[in-house]
Symmetry: C2
Subunit: 181 residues, 2 copies
Amino acid sequence: MSRRDEVLLAALDLLDEVGLEDLTTRRLAERLGVQPSAMYRHFASKQALLDAMVEHLATVADGPVPDGDWSEQLRRIAEESRNGMLRVRDGARLIATHRTPGPAAIAAFDQLTAMMHATGLPEPIARSAVDTVICYVNGFTIEEQSRRPAAPTRTRADKNADFRAGLELIITGIRCSLPAG
Amino acid sequence: MSRRDEVLLAALDLLDEVGLEDLTTRRLAERLGVQPSAMYRHFASKQALLDAMVEHLATVADGPVPDGDWSEQLRRIAEESRNGMLRVRDGARLIATHRTPGPAAIAAFDQLTAMMHATGLPEPIARSAVDTVICYVNGFTIEEQSRRPAAPTRTRADKNADFRAGLELIITGIRCSLPAG
DNA sequence: ACCTGAACACCGTTCAAGT
DNA sequence: ACCTGAACACCGTTCAAGT
């Protein structure tokens, strides 16, 4: 493993512990037992480091499109995407704020839209369907992670159920927009 | 208008010009022709200022529930909420990140869920329906505002159409979950 | 290849003091 | 009531220099 990757993993660890506001190049240096300026050997800027972190989290999520009919694929994409974001504290905000989609994500998106189209949806509607699911996942997960843990009245299992309920609502909407329901 | 409100409006103006990352208490002071420490007469901290800004933007969005059947109400809530966020640069991120829902928002949410329930949806589904729309609106608007303006291939009108298409998809999903079609 | 040391222009915030 | 002046502990970043 390259030194660059060690720095990257340390940054992800630090993020998970202190959150996005307190993720600081100086704190990161301290954790690595090194001077603040040492980071710049490996990343051109803090922004470049954040981009690499996003890339790392998204790689988990933007894998190949799985088997199954379109609704099953949509479910898995949504679930994987949320799980990727939940891997670290403030993961959703990090991705939503800093992501420039990246080739793998775009490919997955296009593949998915094409498949929805093959199912019988007019192409613009297929595009809109995939887009809607993505926006929902992002909105849900950002909100989920930025709740101040004052009164955790809902458990993680509750949250999973809430997430799936909304997802099924959207999938039902797509199904009812299909030509031969 | 109180001095506090003048500071608040200046902060919103500044946000709109420079964006969330460059919204700085010192820049704000400079714009007001005042020392950085002067702000603390009016707001306990930068966080308190941000909260007040969120309050200001959300007040526009969380008005009374309008007339019409449930789908029309859902449309207006969604549209108003997005418009409130679009009023300033990074408005969606500001609200999603710093919002502690606030009594007006909670009241609007409960009122809306109750109405959906009256329409015939079981209560947990009504709750989920409103939640889903809100997550979608937030996800859509955050993404919309954080696109780097590199290649603005889609116009504002396109974006409005995209937004409505996704919204209709969700509304269709709710309608198809209704007991008596 | 990787890191140090010292510097620079910036942050948010506090607090005594002025008018 | 509102603001100044000076300070404090922090930021991200650069750059010459060390090993």
